[in-house]
């Protein structure tokens, strides 16, 4: 049919139908693009927060690893202290394997190590990722003699010799 033969309203209607279909396609395209964009944003956000979450978990695990390594060191040190001659001597004395020597000073014990006064009053145990099993550092108690004192002790216990 020739265009010239068409009536004016028919031409307008045809034009409107054509533009409405292209509009739908445009809207559809826009919707798809918007949806893709939104999905992309959601995906990126999810990745971002997941990454942050993993980062936090990673940080906690690193901290836990550090604590476990510290605990391992503490235990190693505790083992060494308990194997030290002075500790074995003490154990031997306790079990009656040897009589106590009055001139020998004791220089170590397995107790809390800190010399600072900053020790808070006892409260209920705080939760820790690592359960501590031993306090290990050697300390010198007030009763422990310094070497000068030890020397004096030695002099007191000196044997009587013929030249004396």
């Amino acid at each position: 049919m020739n265009k010239r033969n068409q009536t004016r309203p028919a031409r307008v209607r045809a034009k409107q139908e054509q533009s409405s279909s292209s509009r739908v396609r445009t809207y559809l395209l826009m919707f798809v693009c918007a949806s893709t964009l939104v999905c992309g944003f959601f995906f990126a956000a999810r990745q971002h927060f997941s990454s942050m979450d993993f980062g936090m978990k990673n940080s906690r695990l690193r901290k836990q690893l550090d604590e476990l390594e510290s605990e391992k060191r503490r235990l190693l040190l505790a083992r060494e202290i308990s194997l030290s001659p002075s500790e074995i001597k003490k154990a031997a004395k306790k079990t009656g394997l040897m009589t106590s020597a009055p001139t020998q000073s004791e220089v170590a014990q397995v107790v809390s190590t800190t010399k600072e006064k900053a020790i808070p009053p006892q409260v209920s145990e705080a939760k820790s990722m690592v359960v501590k099993t031993a306090a290990v550092s050697p300390v010198q108690t007030a009763t422990t003699a310094s070497y000068i004192k030890t020397d004096k002790a030695g002099k007191q216990a000196k044997p009587k010799t013929s030249n004396d």
Binding site: A135, S137, Y147, A157
Partner: protein, 684 residues
């Protein structure tokens, strides 16, 4: 009419256009303003803004890696660092320091006024680090966190208290306390080595600072962490054996106390490879409580102090002569009437008449040693001194080693050769002297003494750092002859108290007067008594040197004071090492008769010439003592060490009888560390 309508429509369009343009203008101004502000912020203030943003989001955390560990040869830990925490206040975050101080003091059981002062001063100075409590253990830190917990405060880190934070720190621990303290040394609060291996190997042990870049969210939670990797500190394995070290220290302590000596040192070395198995000083200190240690006990006297070696040094004279084939051990030498004058200097002795060279060394005849030294001559004697390592550092991996005092030949006086032949006019360290004996024990091959066995990196194959440098100093024949002569010292001479049960011993006693810096002469009232020996004599596994400074009890000579300590050490260590016995000596022959050794010489130090009168007075007095102490029994013939003749015991008051001693030794070996002989058993 139509024209008016058109004009009205035109006006409306104009108004709409004007309005539109106004709106556009407003938007342009608005966006322009924002743009200008953005330009202003991003160009002129970008640095400040970037810093602020980084400050809020990022956190640079600096921690020091734990200092390397020091092990003995059996991987027993001698020094180790632990993580601890320090509580500090960031006063810039605090508003009311007085109230905070009150709460902190209550929680930490500290003085509130002191804390308040600290915080106030910090606040005034705008300090971000005010330490409250240092180096606390993890459990103590957790208790403090609990005590300081404030529910209203929202904070990412602990303790949940405004302005308070923890800083990671480290603390050095020495689990064996005083054991090998002078060797291991100590490090200060800043993790810097200050003595011993801690100082000499500080570059290896030192914990580097690690930087961690932490990204935080708005709540302060770490969501990303970048660590700047650094090479980790290495661990050090020493040649020391903690069991041998303990044995040596115990024996030395007992010996020093029994002799009431000022101090003592003992070294155990493997002559075949130069490894130091034990190195003890007494009195000692505990590096865990370094603030309480006496300063004079911190130094390692075995390598840092020099002394006149006395008769121990006679091995140089005899060794040089043997090397030059001037005599054989069985040849005779005439001690004359017991005195010899060299360059107007009279050297006296209590040994007279003819004797073999072996007997001369066994009885420590000064005249014979001087005659032998004179035969050798200055150049060869000096050459032997240098070759044996005197006058130069041994190269051991410990700080502040001294090289001793050995004068050049052209600066020797007329009687210097004679003096040196009997161990005066020369100053040595105990380690130099022990190394010289180790050379004899190792068939004339000198192994450089060393104490670091290996340096270990994390997860890597241990890197052996010390390949002992071995040098042939004297011929194997000379070394063999010297060992034969030194064997006689222990069998028939001044070192009888060094005899072991089941093992042959070769060694030499030495007793020298100390040099008095005030009078610039030797002081006849102060001795340095030593004994250095090797066992088994012909295939030595260990060489042990014991030096006592200023013994005050008994005759104070090396045979009385140091030889028993040698015996204590060598007997136990050889048994621990499972060395096969090579001798059938019965315990009854252990303590026989005493042949006291007098200080080698009645000399005055050359640089400050003392008056002849005083010198001769000293000589007479000492000669009298020597005469009194001279044994009247005849010597058993050389080479009869296996005859096991019970000899009448003397000085029973000072030492236990041999049967009891053997029983006690056996008991000690069975129970190892658990049962140790009471000191009084040794002494009474």
């Amino acid at each position: 009419m139509r024209t008016g309508k058109k004009a009205k429509r035109k006006d409306l369009r104009q108004v709409a256009f004007t309005r539109f343009m106004l709106v556009v203008a407003v938007f342009v101004l608005w966006i322009g303003g924002i743009g200008a502000r953005l330009v202003n912020l991003q160009i002129t203030q970008h640095a400040w803004l970037k810093e602020r943003a980084t400050d809020i989001r990022q956190d640079m955390k600096q921690t020091r890696m734990l200092r390397g560990t020091i092990f003995d040869r059996n991987n027993r830990t001698l020094a180790m660092s632990l993580r601890v925490k320090t509580l500090y206040a960031d006063t810039t975050e605090m508003t009311d320091t007085a109230a905070a101080a009150k709460t902190i003091a209550k929680a930490l059981n500290l003085n509130a006024n002191q804390i308040a002062n600290q915080l106030k001063q910090g606040k005034d100075a705008n300090k971000r680090f005010v330490p409250i409590a240092k180096k606390l253990d993890e459990d103590v830190a957790q208790r403090i966190n609990k005590a300081l917990d404030t529910p209203d405060v929202k904070k990412a880190d602990l303790p949940n208290f405004t302005g308070l934070h923890w800083r990671d720190d480290q603390k050095r621990s020495y689990p064996y306390q005083t054991m090998a303290a002078q060797v291991v040394g100590f490090s200060n609060a800043e993790d810097d080595g200050r003595a011993g291996i801690e100082q000499s190997k500080d570059d290896v042990l030192h914990g580097v600072i690690v930087k961690k870049l932490q990204e935080r969210d708005r709540l302060g939670r770490v969501y990303d962490e970048t660590t700047v990797e650094r090479e980790e500190p290495s661990d050090i394995v020493l040649t020391l054996d903690s069991a041998y070290q303990y044995i040596t220290e115990q024996a030395l302590e007992n010996g020093v106390r029994a002799a009431q000596a000022k101090s003592g040192m003992a070294i155990v070395i493997n002559p075949k490879n130069g490894e130091i198995l034990a190195l003890a000083n007494y009195p000692t200190f505990d590096p865990n409580t370094i603030n309480e240690a006496a300063a004079e006990n911190i130094g390692n006297k075995a390598i840092q102090s020099v002394y006149f070696p006395g008769s121990v040094f006679k091995i140089v004279a005899y060794g040089s002569a043997l090397e030059k084939h001037l005599f054989s051990p069985e040849d005779k030498i005439d001690a004359g009437n017991g005195s010899i004058t060299i360059a107007d200097h009279k050297f006296s002795d209590h040994h007279t008449g003819q004797m073999s060279y072996s007997e001369a060394l066994a009885h420590s005849s000064n005249v014979c040693a001087i005659k032998t030294g004179m035969k050798v001559g200055r150049e060869d004697f000096s050459s032997m001194i240098r070759k044996l390592g005197f006058g130069s550092k041994t190269g051991i991996e410990l700080p502040a080693e001294t090289q001793g005092i050995v004068r050049a030949v052209d600066k020797w006086n007329g009687d210097s050769l004679a003096s040196m032949s009997i161990g005066y006019e020369i100053s040595v360290t105990a380690l130099q002297m022990v190394t010289a004996f180790a050379t004899i024990a190792n068939n004339g091959v000198r192994s450089q003494p060393h104490i670091v066995k290996e340096i270990r990196h994390l997860d890597e194959k241990p890197a052996i750092v010390t390949q002992p440098q071995q040098t042939q100093i004297i011929t194997a024949e000379t070394a063999q002859n010297l060992r034969t002569m030194l064997r006689q010292v222990v069998l028939d001479g001044t070192g009888r108290r060094a005899q072991l049960n089941g093992y042959s011993v070769a060694g030499k006693t030495g007793t020298a007067w100390k040099f008095n810096a005030k009078t610039k002469s030797v002081d006849s009232s102060k001795y340095v008594s030593s004994f250095i020996g090797m066992a088994p004599a012909d295939n030595s596994e260990i060489v042990v040197g014991v030096v006592m400074d200023e013994p005050k009890v008994g005759s104070r000579d090396g045979g009385m004071v140091s030889a028993p300590v040698f015996r204590e050490i060598a007997q136990q260590i050889l048994t621990e090492m499972n060395v096969a016995p090579d001798s059938q000596i019965k315990p009854e022959t252990l303590v026989a008769k005493d042949i006291p050794e007098a200080p080698s010489k009645q000399i005055k130090d050359k640089p400050a010439k003392e008056t002849t009168d005083k010198k001769s007075a000293d000589t007479k007095a000492d000669a009298k003592t020597e005469t009194n102490a001279k044994p009247k029994t005849t010597q058993p013939p050389a080479g009869k060490d296996k005859q096991d003749k019970p000899v009448k015991k003397t000085n029973e008051k000072k030492f236990p009888d041999s049967g009891k001693l053997t029983a006690l030794l056996q008991q000690r070996f069975e129970l190892r560390y658990l049962v140790w002989i009471d000191k009084s058993n040794f002494e009474t």
